[in-house]
Symmetry: C2
Subunit: 279 residues, 2 copies
């Protein structure tokens, strides 16, 4: 079990963890924060994934198996007061468990080496909640990798981690490539690059009917407010729009991504039903 | 143009508008608040829809046409100071325009009288942001009406109004029926009632392949955290699950709704492309 309780925000370990709320420090340390028992379980499934575990006495009593597993995995367990946890955690009602995790992202060539059939690219996605929801949806739809370009939000942002509901740990995530360097790599891996944008010439239904979606596909999703810039639209294979049948002006980014990714899943898999996890 | 600027939060008109942030007062007055130029435009399109318009001097200078249209529609225009607007508005960066709107919901029988082919039901949806996003998605997918049951959040909640991005004004919304009274009405209107739930026996793909989705359909969506209660699942025609191909445990409510509603749109419309608005 953890040693004596840290009650001061000035404790060096606490200060070091708090700094990880900022992107610059996360990048320097290659570590990020993830809250709650589910996140701890996910981090423990990755060898060396859990760097440190902060816990309150109550959370330790509620989840003794997680504390034990963390210790077995060689991760220091630090018991802190409720007050310190409240400062460390980024949620209003912290669950008393906070994992300091090692970065999980992989290089682009590694993510592409096994010939993925469904790749998700977040280009210019700025809202971390939206980004996390797209990551979760991509995972659910069977996307094999998710790429965050350099113009997108940091996937290790606390809100993104929370909105991903564990999916950040589930599939290879690539962080930071420039879009212009990314496109040839995707095409070189045999992927048809489709951008989802309201300005698309073809509807999603037309793309389905013409068999486009049955091919190995990389879907590119853009900014919440203004979509994708011209220089991106010019370099993809096709720009596809989700049809709007009613009077809504547009779809929310995450819902548009869900419709596109599930359309690809259906086109690629037919009606095989769910596959067992590939991991 | 508006008269002298109201600078006091104690002005009776300001106090009356502020109270509309609470559901009990909204119900008493049959009015709700909607922020920003888009909302004002939407309210103006409904005869008698705009009850009052609060504006700042800057917003008036930016949108003189909206102020004029409000006056022509007979809605009092009240100019307030930036401080008063900040108190009235529920967003961090208010846009200087706040509409007091008359309720737009319609009785269930009216919403069903024209034989809708796609109806969306929110049962036990508690998060106003999720509810508004589902409303927006339902509008985009061509759902002809959206029903909020008595166990769901109030569609006139400020967060729901914002997340709906205008869709609250676009299609008939029904508020408050009990689920057990609703089901026979939906079936009586010739609708197949499908519940979306992770516990479903059939996947969405199976429902598509078997032709179920081509029928006139009412989709029922449940709570963000725990789905739909047993007494609801027992009374619908079928429980359908969105397949999970990866390792995500579940989908976010609004993304699951997007996948289901667009699957219905495609099954019902084939590849006709977008239809002109039915309103």
């Amino acid at each position: 079990m953890a040693g004596r309780e840290l009650t001061s925000l000035r404790s060096p370990r606490v200060k070091a963890a708090r700094r990880l709320a900022k992107r610059a420090f996360r990048r320097r340390e290659n570590r990020f924060l993830a809250e709650g028992p589910q996140a701890v379980r996910e981090a423990l499934e990755i060898p060396g994934g859990l760097a440190e575990l902060f816990t309150t006495a109550e959370a330790e009593a509620r989840h003794p198996e997680l504390v034990l597993a963390a210790e077995r995995a060689g991760a220091p367990v630090l018991r802190v007061s409720g007050e310190v946890m409240a400062e460390l955690a980024q949620t209003v009602t912290p669950q008393g468990l906070l994992a300091v995790c090692e970065f999980v992202d992989v290089p682009l060539d590694r993510a592409l080496e096994n010939g993925p059939r469904l790749v998700t690219v977040l280009a210019h996605v700025r809202d971390p909640g939206n980004a996390g929801t797209v990551l979760r949806t991509a995972d659910a739809a069977g996307s094999e990798t998710v790429v965050f370009t350099d113009a997108s939000v940091d996937p290790y942002n606390g809100k993104c981690v929370r909105a991903s509901a564990g999916s950040l740990f589930h599939l290879p995530v690539v962080v930071g490539p420039r879009f212009d360097a990314l496109i040839p790599e995707l095409k070189g891996a045999g992927l048809t690059v489709l951008a989802a944008d309201g300005a698309g010439d073809r509807t999603l239904d037309e793309a389905i009917d013409e068999g486009v979606l049955a091919r190995p596909t990389a879907w590119v999703f853009g900014n919440e407010a203004w979509g994708l810039p011209e220089e991106i639209l010019r370099h993809v294979d096709e720009v596809v729009r989700v049809p709007i049948y009613g009077r809504a002006e547009s779809l929310n980014l995450a819902t548009a991504a869900a419709v596109c990714l599930y359309a690809s899943a259906r086109a690629q898999r037919g009606s095989q039903g769910e596959r067992p996890s590939r991991m």
